[in-house]
């Protein structure tokens, strides 16, 4: 009889716990696998902004200002809303389901550091967000000649506004997931918040046409600033004069989004629940 037993030391070395980076990447891959395999969430998350921009382009075909077509204006809102969908809505709905099913309770029973769970979600959200935005841009270029940013500076702005925005929305999505007591209430909590923000932040309307008080309320939340930052990327510099502040205010965009990252992180750390009330 042959024995397949390895020396204990070899077996131990082979199964050594991965380092922090590897742990996060593994978790990210698992989350992404789960997301991509649930077909309806892929179709709806990825498809929503594309369908919306196609509808907008079909309804409005004039110009908002000289050289600024409606689709060129609304693409900024759709990118921002799309990033918010994959991060804020996706997590605010999905995490209560995982909590309800006891998935989070399982993770808590292992030596996995808590932050790894969040890191996995962030990685998933960023990858999905990049794919979704790329698809949205590709469709827009093909269907209504969207003008892509022309300078490296604008692409850079595009990058940091998106990264800060999606980070803030991800952290807020994780934070708001603790408000839902059951799996079913996740979307009831998240959907109105998202819709109200979209209507008041210039996703569906030209922002400056909204009542001033509404503009001021929207300015407290990240979505308005994501839209404004993206307008600086996709609209001509001459359009800046039509912004509420008379310019794109990129410094303030960075500041508000960064502040929301901090607020979101504090809320996550302070309020995140791994088990439901039923788990005692």
């Amino acid at each position: 009889m042959t024995t397949t037993l390895k020396p204990a030391t070899a077996a131990r070395a082979a199964s050594r716990q991965p380092g922090p980076l590897a742990l996060a990447l593994r978790q990210g891959r698992l989350e992404l696998t789960q997301f991509l395999r649930s077909r309806e969430s892929v179709v709806f998350t990825m498809g929503f902004p594309i369908i919306m921009i196609l509808i907008f382009a079909a309804i409005f075909d004039g110009e908002i200002a000289p050289g600024v077509s409606f689709p060129q204006y609304f693409i900024t809102g759709m990118i921002a809303a799309g990033l918010m969908t994959v991060s804020f809505q996706n997590l605010g709905i999905w995490i209560p389901i995982e909590r309800d099913r006891g998935v989070l309770k399982r993770y808590r029973g292992t030596p996995m550091p808590k932050w790894v769970y969040f890191a996995g979600k962030v990685i998933m959200v960023v990858v999905v967000g990049v794919i979704e935005t790329a698809l949205l841009l590709a469709v827009s270029v093909a269907v209504f000649d969207l003008q892509l940013p022309g300078t490296a500076t604008k692409w850079l702005t595009f990058g940091w506004v998106s990264v800060l925005g999606i980070t803030a929305c991800t952290l807020c999505g994780i934070a708001i997931s603790s408000l839902a007591r059951t799996a079913r209430s996740g979307s009831a909590v998240v959907t109105p918040v998202a819709l109200i923000l979209q209507f008041t932040s210039g996703v569906f309307f030209v922002f400056t046409q909204l009542p001033t008080w509404m503009q001021q309320v929207a300015a407290l939340f990240p979505l308005k600033w994501m839209c404004q930052g993206l307008r600086s990327v996709f609209l001509p510099d001459t359009f800046a004069g039509q912004e509420p502040g008379g310019s794109y205010e990129l410094g303030r965009v960075a500041l508000v989004l960064a502040a929301w990252c901090v607020i979101g992180l504090l809320l996550c750390l302070g309020t995140f629940r791994w088990t439901t009330r039923r788990d005692g």
Partner: protein
């Protein structure tokens, strides 16, 4: 470790509002022991076990599990314990193999995932998505995830619920193998044969109190319990008598019948009888 007790709990209490679920439990589990918690529905088994696992907060009492307080455990603590919960946590859209491999990555000294999958009898389901498994197969997956980290101390809350008889026997063998390798095991069960087959000691819990802790064969003074001797009378009736000295009675009966006693049986109460009596007499 110099402490030979894996678990020590003193005066453990936990109430949900006015409902006292655990009402002052004192418990000791030795290193390498298989300890079974028995008790009716709602007795407080899960509450007790989940306090020991660090999931639930206790209201009062002292607890040490592998020399740590589960409410504030040492850094490496979760590496050393394995947990099979009463409620399953269902992962979406992942296969058995993917899930077990993923969980293996959380532990410093994990077992070989393929080996563990085979060990719980899921080898031919390794590629199946977890939501397609049957109830008993899901339970086996729970067990696989509980033992993948090669725990020193393994908690199992009603692990064999939903197992077919063969699966249960296989599971028993798995527990015996783990125990033989030195794993301390705490399990709850409603199956008395399971407790009898596996446990070194059994704790009976009812109404949040531990009413007895003993080896299965000693539970409720089972050794001293009266035997029931029954036989058929010449008229064809069955007669039975409880007796502390059944041998004497049988000898006497043999003399009375002049040899064979028709329909003779001598029985001692089963663990189940003793158990029902214990929880009924409260």
């Amino acid at each position: 470790m110099d402490n030979e007790l894996a678990i020590v709990a003193r005066g453990l209490r936990k109430a949900y509002g006015k409902n006292v679920a655990v009402a002052g439990v004192d418990l000791e589990v030795r290193q390498g022991e298989v300890f079974a918690l028995l008790g009716p529905n709602g007795a407080g088994k899960t509450t007790t076990v989940e306090i020991l696992e660090g999931y639930r907060r206790r209201d009062a009492g002292e607890v040490s599990v592998l020399d740590s307080d589960p409410a504030a455990p040492a850094a490496n603590w979760r590496n050393r314990i394995g947990i099979v919960l009463q409620g399953v946590g269902e992962f979406d859209e992942l296969s058995v193999s993917e899930l077990v491999h993923h969980f293996a990555g959380f532990y410093a000294d994990a077992d070989d995932p393929e080996k563990v999958i085979a060990r719980v009898g899921l080898a031919d389901k390794a590629r199946a998505r977890t939501h397609t498994l049957s109830g008993g197969q899901k339970r086996r997956l729970d067990v696989a995830l509980g033992i993948i980290g090669r725990p020193e101390l393994l908690f199992l809350d009603e692990p064999t619920t939903g197992f077919d008889p063969e699966a249960r026997r296989e599971f028993w063998q798995l527990i015996r193998d783990l125990a033989a390798a030195g794993t301390t095991i705490v399990l709850t069960t409603h199956y008395l044969d399971e407790a009898e087959a596996l446990a070194d000691r059994v704790g009976v819990i009812a109404g949040g109190r531990l009413i007895e802790v003993a080896a299965p064969e000693d539970l409720g003074n089972r050794q001293q319990a009266h035997a029931t001797v029954s036989w058929r009378t010449p008229e064809g009736r069955t007669e039975s008598t409880e007796s502390a000295t059944p041998t004497e009675l049988v000898t006497e009966l043999a003399a009375r019948f002049g040899g064979e006693v028709p329909g003779l049986t001598v029985t001692r109460p089963t663990l189940e009888d003793i158990y029902l009596q214990m929880i009924g007499h409260r």
